[in-house]
């Protein structure tokens, strides 16, 4: 399904060439860790053990995993409220991540941010925003910072299809192009913005086609094909890292669980939903990998993921809520309660 607009270097010759088996296994491992975390989180919500809002990334695991696989720890990622997969793929450990989702003091942000605002700068997870599209201009700033400091760090910013209609998207792509910033704009096109299908809110068939308005390469790939996306993202990230400037990468994918926990998805045609779930990329990729790895090897990855997730949940569940004295700290510099924590 690859489509490239005004393209060039960002599109490698053959997007289907599989990388090293170890890389493939790593993609599988990351996606599995995401899926297991998500499944457990949802089942705990369903049972009432966890409350709150939750935007499941189930189905979109590879949109995160296949891109982040190219990133170094000191590269930057910006994501959104539907950010669990991006947070895990960038390397944020599951324990403090889960603790943050529960608003515990041991969370990445001391429980003050929550799922929609996770940052973990030591892992390059720089911003999670709850405001649609707002991450794109900030990603430019991260990329500019690398450029000004003379490093070869790359910034990846993830956002949805609906976000491509907001002003911040336009301003960010224009500026990134003019300044030739080392940034990759990854649109995780899951075909819906809340309950609105793509075509009802978006005046273009392929969001990657909008790249031409900024003289930027734009590429639409199957975001559920781990290899195709891995190759495309690799090209875009290499391009950014070597001074070639920004790319708009559109990864076609699907939200298996709707917009938000509790969404019944009645607005999605039954066949569309059934077909998407039947083509679960994680299941498909596992089947593919069975040609290269033994069942034992794959099962070991899965068991390790399940164990890690169970451990993270246990850690988060038993962690403390922040003390009330934390309410007024961290508004300004020098107001942290616990100097050691920073």
């Amino acid at each position: 399904m690859t489509t490239s607009t005004s393209l060039d270097a960002a599109a490698p010759a053959d997007l289907s060439a599989p990388p090293d088996p170890e890389v493939q296994l790593e993609l599988f491992r990351t996606a599995t860790r995401i899926a297991r975390f998500d499944e457990k989180y949802r089942s705990l919500m369903t049972s009432g053990a966890i409350g709150g809002m939750y935007y499941s990334p189930r189905g979109q695991e590879f949109a995160a995993a296949s891109v982040a696989a190219h990133l170094r720890r000191d590269d930057y990622v910006v994501t959104t409220y539907r950010g669990l997969h991006d947070q895990i793929a960038k390397g944020v450990p599951l324990r403090p991540l889960w603790a943050e989702y529960l608003g515990k003091a041991a969370g990445t942000c001391g429980g003050k941010g929550g799922p929609m605002h996770v940052t973990a700068p030591e892992y390059g997870l720089m911003v999670t925003t709850g405001v649609v599209g707002a991450g794109l201009p900030i990603a430019n700033g991260l990329a500019l910072s690398a450029q000004l400091r003379g490093t070869d760090q790359v910034t990846v910013v993830n956002f949805g299809d609906g976000a491509s209609n907001i002003g911040a998207f336009h301003e960010a792509l224009n500026l990134a192009s003019i300044w030739r910033l080392p940034v990759v704009f990854v649109c995780q096109n899951n075909r819906y913005a809340e309950y609105t299908p793509l075509r009802e809110g978006t005046s273009v068939d392929r969001i990657a086609n909008r790249a031409a308005a900024y003289s930027m390469p734009g590429l639409t790939v199957d975001g559920n094909d781990p290899i195709e996306l891995y190759n495309a993202a690799g090209a875009a990230i290499r391009r950014a890292r070597t001074g070639g400037g920004p790319t708009l990468l559109e990864a076609m994918t699907f939200r298996f669980c709707g917009h938000i926990m509790g969404d019944q998805q009645v607005y999605i045609p039954q066949e569309e939903l059934r077909a998407a779930v039947a083509a679960d990329p994680l299941v498909r990729f596992r089947a593919q990998l069975a040609a290269v790895f033994t069942e034992t090897e794959l099962a070991a990855v899965e068991r390790a993921a399940a164990d890690e997730v169970a451990d993270a949940w246990e850690f988060a569940r038993t962690a403390e809520l922040p003390a009330e004295s934390e309410l007024t700290t961290d508004v300004y510099a020098g107001t942290a309660q616990d100097g050691a924590r920073k």
Partner: protein, 336 residues
């Protein structure tokens, strides 16, 4: 789904906030072809951020209950253009924090066009938006920003506290000839229930109401905090303290007559709101009360507000953030 808009019934049914607002929209859409609604996901199945438009798209048509892309500037601009050419748009900005995404349209354009045109270009639009802490939505989905809008000359700002007022005030906003911002506190959506008059029930803008009479101290508040203040008032009544609770309903223009009349009598005032303290609306209230009733007060006006922090996510902190009944009670006692 509602009978309103067809015939005015004198009976008042018990409704929740979402239903009451839905009914106001239904009546307005049914009454005046100039009225239309626009916003993200306001048709089925969402009916907007909190389902306020449920059923209205089907009943009044997709052209009058219009789905928009995620484009707050485009939403607000479309509302302004429609308003200055004779229509009465009701725009939903899903959450109040996103008003900042289209602040220029709202404050530099909607609020100013009448004045800048010497009265030739009125802007009869209504912006509905939801917000409030307590839902675990975190720092970007919970802010009460009414004070920033009150500071924008030309806007009217309304924050209802119960379903009947919500219906009556929203209808007044829609048929008002000025830009109105109607703030719906999420905490009330599913908590507040109450009797709601059917039909084209309107409550004039700019009129506060005395939600509870009392002689010892006046508590000035609005929105979700009204219920908390009433509960505290009941509790203090047992101790023999007569607390008068004023529900401002409209913040701009402010009903200083009711406000100052009450405080002149009680000589004590406590101002309660959920927004942060620094330059919150409580500052305007406190400044006005102190200056207008100088020498007549028995105690300084106390402000009970959120602390000057973003809204925290952690439950323990979010609870501490929101003015609690015990903080309200303590503030009242401190004036006695």
């Amino acid at each position: 789904m509602t009978t309103a808009g067809t015939a005015t019934q004198e009976t008042a049914r018990t409704l929740g906030m979402v239903q009451a607002i839905n009914e106001a929209l239904d009546v307005a859409l049914g009454t005046d072809p100039a009225v239309f609604a626009l916003g993200e996901d306001i048709q089925e199945p969402g009916g907007g951020g909190f389902g306020v438009h449920k059923g209205l798209g089907v009943k009044h048509g997709a052209h009058r209950v219009r789905m928009t892309p995620i484009s707050e500037q485009a939403i607000m601009g479309a509302a302004i253009g429609a308003a200055i050419s004779g229509l009465r748009p009701v725009a939903e900005i899903m959450l109040m924090n996103f008003v900042h995404v289209c602040m220029d349209q709202l404050v530099n354009h909607a609020a100013k066009l009448r004045y800048m045109s010497g009265g030739r270009t009125p802007v009869p639009l209504t912006v509905r938006t939801a917000t409030g802490a307590g839902g675990g939505f975190g720092a970007q989905h919970s802010d009460m920003l009414e004070a920033q809008l009150v500071h924008a000359a030309g806007l009217k700002v309304v924050v209802p506290s119960n379903p009947a007022d919500a219906k009556g005030l929203l209808l007044s906003c829609i048929f008002d000839d000025d830009p109105c911002v109607f703030v719906e506190m999420t905490g009330l959506y599913f908590a507040a229930r109450g009797p709601v008059p059917a039909g084209d029930h309107r409550i004039p803008l700019g009129q506060a109401t005395i939600a509870r009479a009392g002689d010892d101290v006046t508590v000035v508040t609005y929105g979700r905090q009204v219920a908390d203040c009433l509960a505290v008032a009941e509790q203090l009544a047992d101790e023999g303290v007569g607390v008068e609770v004023i529900d401002l309903r409209t913040l701009a223009p402010l009903d200083t007559t009711t406000l100052l009349g009450s405080v002149a009598r009680t000589r004590r005032a406590v101002v309660v709101h959920e927004a942060v303290r620094r330059n919150g609306f409580g500052a305007e209230l406190s400044a006005t009360i102190h200056a207008e009733l100088f020498g007549q007060l028995a105690a300084p006006v106390v402000r009970v507000t959120a602390p000057d922090t973003p809204v925290p996510y952690a439950k323990s902190l979010e609870e501490a953030y929101i003015p609690s009944r015990s903080r309200i009670a303590a503030a009242i006692r401190s004036t006695l």
